[in-house]
Symmetry: C2
C-alpha cells in the first residue's frame, strides 16, 4: 500500500524515456527502409511554431532530469543540445535514465511540502509546492514531449502503436 | 508529506480535462473567426490511422473515468460516443470531472496492491497491480490523448501555448 512521490515518478519516467528510445529505433528503421535521411524526420514539426522532433526529445530529457533533480535537491547534469542523429538522441535518453537512477528516492519523497523554484523562460521563475510540481508540471510536461515526438513520427508514416508509447510496463494479458 | 494514489491522480486529471475544455474553447473561437465549420477540426487527424480530434477527447474522458473507477472499485458511467459538436465534447469532459469528484480517495489509495483487470480491445484483458495501473497506464494514456488533441489543433493553426495544456495549476511566478 506504500505509494510515494518517488514511486509515482522514477519508474514511469524511466519506462517513458526508454519507450521513446524504442520509438526512435523504429524511426531509424523506417528511414533506412524508405531511403530517407533521418535528419528529415528529426527536423519534422506538426506546425511551424511547434518544436521539431529533435527538440521534443531533448525537452523530454530535460524536463525529467531537471524536474527530478530539483525534487531530490541536487544539481542536474547539463546536457548540451548538440544532437544531430538518432543515435545521439538515444544516448541522451540513456544518460537521462542513468541520472535518474542516481537520485535518492527518500529525498524526492521528502520534497512534497517543499517549495520548488524553477526557471520559466530566460528571466522568470516559477514556484510550486513539491507534490504539485511533480504531478502538475514535471509529469504532464514529460508526457507532452513523449507524445509529441511519437505523434511527429506517426505523422511521418512510421508504424507505431500505443504499446510503443507505453513501453515496457508490467502487464499480464489474457 | 502525505502523498497517495488519489493525490497523484484526481487533481491532475481534473486539471488536465478542464484544460482540454479550455483548448476546445479556443478551437471554437478559431473556427468562428476563420469561418470554418468546427466539424472540420473535430475530424482532423495527424495521420490516416490515428484517431481524429473527437475520438481523442472521448478517449481522454474514458481512460480517466474508467481507470479511476476501477481503482475505486466502482462501476464507471457509460458515455455513448455520440458527440458531434465542441459543446457536446465539453459537456462530456465536464461530466467526467463530475464523476471523478464522486470517487472515494481512500478506496483509490487502498488499490495500490490490488490486481486491476481491464479490457484490452474486444476480447483480451489486461491485468496490472493497482499502483502500476495508475502510474504506467491510466496517467500516460490520459496525457497521450490530451496531448494528441492539443497537437491536432496546433496542426490546424489554433493558437495555443503550453499553458493551455497545463491548465489551472497552482504556480506563483516571479
Amino acid at each position: 500500500m506504500s505509494f510515494s512521490m518517488s514511486k509515482a515518478s522514477l519508474p514511469s519516467l524511466e519506462i517513458g524515456l526508454n519507450a521513446l528510445s524504442g520509438v526512435l529505433d523504429k524511426a531509424q528503421a523506417f528511414a533506412t527502409s524508405k531511403k530517407v535521411d533521418p535528419s528529415v524526420l528529426l527536423g519534422t514539426r506538426l506546425c511551424p511554431d511547434m518544436f521539431a522532433l529533435t527538440r521534443q526529445v531533448q525537452l523530454a530529457s530535460d524536463l525529467a532530469k531537471n524536474g527530478m533533480a530539483r525534487l531530490a535537491g541536487v544539481e542536474p547534469p547539463r546536457f548540451e543540445d548538440t544532437e544531430t542523429t538518432i543515435d545521439q538522441l538515444k544516448a541522451r535518453l540513456a544518460k537521462t535514465v542513468s541520472f535518474l537512477k542516481t537520485l535518492d528516492p527518500k529525498k524526492i519523497d521528502a520534497a512534497a511540502d517543499r517549495e520548488i523554484t524553477f526557471p520559466l523562460g530566460p528571466t522568470k521563475k516559477g514556484h510550486m509546492q513539491g507534490d504539485d510540481y511533480l504531478s502538475h508540471f514535471v509529469l504532464p510536461n514529460v508526457y507532452f514531449h513523449l507524445t509529441a515526438a511519437y505523434a511527429i513520427l506517426r505523422h511521418c508514416g512510421v508504424e507505431l502503436g500505443k504499446q510503443d508509447f507505453l513501453g515496457g510496463i508490467r502487464m499480464k494479458m489474457t
